[in-house]
């Protein structure tokens, strides 16, 4: 292979020596630096918090690294911040582990780190500590990221499927299926005339507004892998209740519906990275929707269904034509149809 002019990560960048120091000093700290991270100690000491602590972790292996609406960096921050948010936690700090494949262009690393910085600032969270490794070239994925998040949960917050009863209502905070289809459209080279953008967004602020001091909100989950169908399947098995969802109520942008049809996918099973599925008692639904509608990440929030007593417990979709069919967790990876 002929060497090109692109500056790339090499194995020595992960060796712990001079190149590593320069990588941190020139490409990481300028974007992410803060009083916790700057000493580059073995760890970060955080001030004590009242309430209970919440810990969560997630790894990010998305391909391609960049897609309309975001990139792996934004995803790595939002994914973990949102898991904290779904637990009712106020985010305190993140750790950031980078596993970089040698050969990754430095310009790409800069872009991703910039995204991480911007998203962390938006989410009101700091990168407190991190790690960088460089591995030999494998499949050409380029970059893998793990983030671990620490958050603080108010003593009065009690989010749990055990609190859900028949009659409780389900709300989704906005349009479905955008992240998964945005990524897949790029991967499949679908030249769609209207570009689908990932909805990846940090939701801690919205979640805190919905949850703190509001016991009528009983449960939050973000419908990532497995989509809305995955969350509903979880809820059915955790509550022993049935769920009825109204297809007419599901918010899906027409171009997203169209792309899903082209690929033979059910939008209910496609990943979202900027949405909340919320369960509340019916008296609270109007107030919940009002809060969502006045937030930038909840403008299209809508009630989509109800918990019902059903034996056996099943999640069922009442379809546009008044028919019905089950909603179940998809098996493994949803792959576009071949015929």
């Amino acid at each position: 292979m002929v060497p090109d002019d692109i500056e790339r990560i090499i194995l020595a960048h992960g060796g712990g020596g001079e190149l590593t120091s320069r990588l941190l000093a020139e490409h990481i700290l300028p974007h992410l630096g803060n009083e916790l991270l700057n000493p580059l100690g073995d760890g970060a000491i955080l001030p004590a918090e009242s309430g209970r602590l919440c810990l969560t972790t997630d790894s990010f292996v998305v391909q391609p690294l960049t897609f309309p609406g975001g990139d792996i960096g934004r995803l790595a921050v939002c994914g973990t911040v949102n898991d904290l948010a779904m637990m009712g936690a106020r985010p305190l700090a993140l750790s950031l582990s980078l596993i970089i494949e040698e050969g990754l262009p430095l310009a790409m690393l800069d872009r991703i780190i910039g995204s991480i910085a911007d998203t962390a600032a938006e989410a009101g969270i700091r990168i407190a500590t991190g790690d960088t490794k460089v591995i030999e070239r494998q499949r050409g994925d380029g970059l893998l990221i793990n983030t671990t998040g620490l958050g603080s949960v108010a003593d009065s917050t009690d989010l749990s499927p055990g609190r859900i009863v028949a009659g409780d209502e389900l709300v989704i905070t906005g349009n479905l299926a955008e992240h998964g289809l945005a990524v897949m459209a790029v991967r499949e080279g679908l030249g769609l005339t209207t570009r689908i953008e990932s909805d990846v967004a940090p939701l801690a602020d919205l979640a805190q507004q919905l949850v703190v001091g509001r016991p009528a909100v009983k449960f939050l989950r973000d419908p990532t892998r497995g989509g809305l169908a995955g969350v509903l399947a979880d809820l059915v098995s955790e509550t022993g209740l049935g769920i009825e969802v109204d297809e007419n109520a599901l918010p899906i942008a027409p171009r997203v519906q169209h792309a899903a049809e082209l690929l033979g996918l059910d939008p209910l099973t496609v990943a979202n990275e900027g949405k909340i599925v919320l369960v509340c008692s019916p008296e609270a639904t109007a107030a919940v929707l009002a809060i969502c509608h006045s937030h930038q990440y909840g403008r299209k929030a809508t009630r989509i269904g109800t918990f019902v007593a059903s034996e056996p417990p099943l999640a069922e979709l009442v379809t546009k034509i008044g028919g019905h069919r089950l909603i179940q967790r998809p098996y493994g990876e949803e792959l576009p149809r071949i015929c």
């Binding site: 991967r187 499949e188 297809e247 049809e261 033979g264 059910d266 056996p312 099943l314 979709l317 009442v318 379809t319 546009k320 034509i321 008044g322 028919g323 019905h324 069919r325 089950l326 179940q328 998809p330 098996y331 990876e333 949803e334 792959l335 576009p336 149809r337 071949i338 015929c339």
Partner: protein, 369 residues
């Protein structure tokens, strides 16, 4: 008499209107059995909830329109044998990866270190060969007339690039010979066919005329979204009620009577009809696509001196009867017991277009959704 290109019926703007019309017409006919030829129709009919609102005298039965489901075990075992060669890189559509062969599936072999890559298209497979010149890339070319043109384009691209490390394990099949074989068996109590929208884009709607004229079956070519499905079923019922079988096309925006000539020419240039073994249906002459002799170097069967193994059904599996419309998935004793999406026994449970997978996913507990 114009058989094609029916304009939308009055009132069809409203889906509920169509449902009402279907209910009304279904009272004029007795028990009616309609075959959904295409696996994508099976899934769409479930997903839309149409199955759950059809009057009880209208029965929908599955057909041989799921490419993975109709692939013989002999083909699967041949693919597995190839995957075991250390220099071979298998490229395939996703559904094929989990179909169990004699000793496990491609997914199992991959976990043991075999080189198996899922592709979204045949051209992806060619790119894989370009990017991996030291590997012998074999593409599992299955699918009906919808996907065969894309395979043809890929082969011509490989030829143009002068690739030495790319071949196809051909397994493409043609829909009409299978339908004729089902009708020739004579014990198929089917009143009408819901014909596959995407296949028909390629082959056109005229090819189906013998089904109506010679076999007296109601026929409609329809797309996959809910209005198309309702319209299609309504047309079939109206034909039945009037005793006037014909081929209606409610998808004229995409399907022409003569089909897509360019795609057909492409297929003729690259392929020739040959024998093909369909799961449980045996050999149907002229129902498969073989590479033409000029492109023999891209034929994996010849390149690796292979023949498909014997076809067989895994013990207890009734996929073969499901794809011929003889039984429903719920009639198979393995359905939802030993055979589930996470532990499939036959391809009908593996494939995203398989009847058993659709039943399990959308209507596990009831016979009619």
């Amino acid at each position: 008499m114009v058989e094609q290109n029916h304009p939308p019926l009055a009132g069809s703007d409203d889906l509920q209107q169509l449902v009402v019309q279907i209910t009304t017409v279904s009272e004029e006919v007795g028990p009616v059995r309609l075959m959904e030829v295409c696996g994508t129709h099976t899934v769409s009919l479930f997903r839309s909830g149409i199955r759950s609102i059809l009057p009880a005298n209208i029965r929908l039965i599955s057909g041989p329109g799921c490419p993975v489901c109709v692939t013989s075990q002999g083909y699967i075992d041949a693919a597995l044998d190839l995957a075991r060669y250390s220099r071979v890189a298998i490229t395939t559509y996703g559904d094929m990866v989990r179909v169990p062969g004699r000793d496990g599936s491609l997914a199992d072999l991959r976990a043991q270190g075999a080189d198996v890559t899922v592709c979204y298209s045949a051209r992806d497979a060619v790119q894989h060969a370009v990017a991996n010149p030291e590997r012998e890339v074999v593409f599992l070319a299955v699918g009906f007339e919808t996907t065969a043109p894309a395979t043809a384009v890929a082969v011509l691209e490989a030829e143009q690039l002068g690739l030495q490390n790319f071949s196809l394990l051909t397994g493409h099949k043609l829909v009409m010979p299978a339908l004729n074989a089902l009708l020739a068996a004579d014990d198929l109590p089917v009143d009408g066919f819901l014909l596959p929208g995407h296949v028909s884009v390629i082959i056109g709607s005229d090819v189906y005329l013998p089904l109506a004229r010679e076999h007296g079956k109601a026929c409609v070519v329809a797309g996959f979204e809910v209005r198309q499905l309702l319209l299609g079923i309504l047309h079939l019922l109206r034909q039945k009620a009037a005793g006037q079988p014909r081929v209606d096309n409610v998808y004229p925006v995409a399907v022409q009577p003569e089909g897509n000539r360019r795609a057909q020419e492409l297929l003729e240039h690259v392929f020739q009809p040959g024998d093909a073994v369909w799961r449980a249906m045996g050999n149907i002459p002229g129902s498969g696509l073989d590479l033409r002799p000029a492109l023999a170097r891209f034929d994996a069967w010849q390149r690796y001196d292979m023949e498909p193994g014997e076809d067989y059904e895994p013990p207890g599996c009734r996929c073969g009867e499901v794809i011929q419309g003889r039984v429903d998935p719920g009639d198979c004793p393995l359905f939802a017991t030993a055979c589930r999406p996470e532990s499939p026994i036959g391809p009908c449970m593996v494939s995203s277009e398989g009847s058993c997978a659709a039943w399990y996913r959308y209507a596990r507990r009831t016979a009619q959704g």
